[in-house]
């Protein structure tokens, strides 16, 4: 490293710190203050650290609403991702292996699903017709419908790296199509599956808009909606709002620390291809 690279690096690090890190420090400091102190919204360190008390207060607020919200968000995320991985991989596999005129049609739908915003009120109308409005399984299916495009593109790209000889060997040995897929192909797709799981879990966990429309009701609250509720409730208790922001920021931070490589792979592949 040259002297020049060291100096640019230090200057740039200082800028990055001010622009991107200080806001998060602000959240942490203010989450540790008393209500009266946060009302002044300053950077001064708390006179008395109340981190733990604030944490307990946020968790207990509105009859332990946050715990319910975490439970709902986790159920939706896990349910949707299970279906997305299996169904998305099945489509990506057939799409890559079998060339036909249908492929173009399927691609058209995949791209439309990636780009077009959902028609919200008609979707509520369909969900009501099916009895799925305001239900967790309805929400899971919605997240599957909206996430499929991304998953299909990623799985399709990965299938093209698996040699066809493997399928053919399995077929010669008498395997049925579903056996070839579930016994031979799916286990080989572990790297891309991890990427899909990581990227989609963050997307679905952070989703605010769709639960707002399709999952109204106190008992259906999700993690992002607690923030929105707390905003009006805690006008004079900004410390608790900041604590809540901190609590919803921690899961993505942990995922980021442990799965940095997969996130980068997924975001750039998803970017380059969809």
């Amino acid at each position: 490293m040259t002297r020049r690279q060291l100096i640019t690096g230090l200057i740039s690090l200082a800028c990055a710190f001010v622009i991107f890190v200080i806001p998060f420090i602000f959240v942490f400091i203010n989450a540790s203050k008393s209500a009266a102190e946060t009302a002044r919204l300053s950077f001064a360190l708390p006179q008395e650290w109340r981190f733990w008390q604030n944490l307990v207060e946020v968790v207990q607020a509105r009859d332990y609403q946050l715990l319910l919200a975490y439970f709902n968000s986790i159920v939706i995320t896990v349910g949707a991702i299970t279906l997305l991985v299996i169904f998305g991989a099945m489509v990506g596999y057939v799409l890559q292996r079998r060339k036909s005129g249908w492929n173009k049609v399927i691609y058209g739908f995949v791209l439309a699903g990636l780009m077009m915003p959902p028609a919200v009120v008609p979707t509520i109308w369909v969900l009501q017709g099916l009895g799925l409005f305001k239900t967790l399984h309805g929400m899971i299916l919605i997240q599957v419908a909206y996430g499929l495009g991304f998953c299909i593109l990623l799985f399709r790209a990965f299938v093209s790296t698996i040699p066809r000889d493997l399928d053919e060997a399995a077929i010669v040995d008498g395997a049925k199509p579903w056996q070839v897929f579930f016994r031979v192909i799916l286990p080989l797709m572990k790297p891309v599956t991890v990427t899909v799981i990581v990227v989609q879990s963050i997307t679905i966990f952070n989703d605010f808009t769709h639960p707002l429309y399709y999952l109204p009701g106190k008992e259906n609250v999700t993690v992002q909606l607690t923030l929105y509720n707390f905003q009006s409730q805690f006008v004079s208790q900004l410390n608790l709002l900041f604590m809540n922001i901190l609590l919803v920021t921690i899961p993505p931070l942990l995922v980021f620390i442990f799965f940095n490589r997969q996130i980068v792979a997924g975001m750039t592949a998803g970017g380059v291809k969809g």
Binding site: M1, Q5, L6, T8, G9, L10, S12, L13, A16, I19, F20, F26, L41, S42, I86, M90, V91, Y93, V94, R98, K104, I106, Y107, L111, M115, P117, P118, A119, V120, V121, P122, T123, V126, L127, V144, A145, L148, I152, P177, V180, I202, N206, F208, V223, Q224, L227, Q231, F242, I245, V248, T249, P252, L253, N260, I263, V264, M267, T268, G271, G274
Partner: protein, 286 residues
């Protein structure tokens, strides 16, 4: 009899059913419902009245104009800043990996959390931004309370939050440029600036297309950040199509809300689809 393919189409079926029922059917139905006066039970046909209202009521039209302004501004800024940051973050400088992570992390954080945080930072009298400006003698504006500035302030936050993704895509794009080109340019006596304009910019074009497509779509569809920061206010000054759709839905004007949704489809169809299809054709044909 035709031999049965080892790659049967029923593999596509579960995904196709979910996608058709929950995405395609509502999308197609929206064209019909946008022409009606609708309360979820009864829809009566009223022709293009909802659309007429959209383009004659100033507060609805404002939403359309704001959506375009917001999408173009944020997309342009993310493209330019993303490329510059990517060049900087591949220059081999000190703490490069750490800085990549720092720039990227906001992409993963809850948008509502980011929005509420910046609403506090941008508070006109007590917010940290204006306190800092005041300390050096500049009177800070009412970032979110001034109707002329509100949408712009939200756009700044959106750029702060999204530039990391653009940077990441550009870093991947830069990595695919062979060092031979730079070597050849140096031998020909090109300066660093010339190398940037004549080698980097043309060869990183696929990444540029991707960044523009993604950020335009994101900008046109944006809802959560606006909702967390201004709720379209003050007045209707920072309303965008997605927030108008939500407000009209809450007010019970389902036909009008759906018309807003259709206008959003059409904007994306006109602005993004041609760009995307040209770009993805290569991918589909291989």
């Amino acid at each position: 009899m035709r031999k049965r393919s080892p790659y049967p189409y029923w593999f596509v079926l579960p995904a196709a059913v979910i996608f058709t029922v929950l995405f395609l059917v509502p999308t197609i139905a929206s064209f019909w419902f946008s022409l009606t006066n609708w309360d979820l039970f009864d829809a009566s046909f009223i022709g293009f009245e909802n659309y007429q209202q959209f383009f004659s009521e100033p507060f609805l039209l404002r939403g359309v104009v704001n959506t375009l302004f917001f999408a173009v501004l944020t997309s342009g800024a993310k493209t330019v800043l993303g490329l510059l940051l990517a060049v900087l973050l591949t220059s081999g400088m000190f703490a490069q990996g750490l800085q990549r992570s720092i720039v990227f992390f906001p992409v993963l954080v809850s948008t509502i959390g980011v929005g509420l945080l910046f609403t506090e930072l941008m508070h006109p009298t007590e917010g940290v931004i204006n306190l800092a400006l005041g300390a050096v003698g500049i009177p800070g504006p009412g970032w979110l309370t001034n109707p002329k500035l509100a949408l712009f302030s939200v756009a700044m936050v959106d750029i702060w939050r999204g530039v990391g993704l653009a940077t990441l895509i550009y870093i991947a794009g830069l990595a695919s440029i062979s060092p031979d080109y730079y070597e050849a340019a140096r031998i020909d006596g090109a300066t660093r600036l010339q190398q940037f304009w004549r080698v980097t910019v043309p060869l990183v074009r696929p990444a540029t297309t991707t960044v523009i497509i993604l950020s335009l779509i994101g900008g046109l569809r944006l809802f959560d950040l606006i909702w967390a920061m201004t709720r379209g206010g003050p007045g209707f000054a920072s309303d965008v199509l997605a927030s108008v759709v939500y407000k009209q839905y809450q007010a019970g004007f389902y036909g009008l809300s759906t018309a807003g949704n259709v206008i959003l489809f059409l904007l994306i169809a006109v602005l993004v689809v041609p760009l995307a299809f040209r770009f993805y054709r290569k991918e589909v044909d291989q």
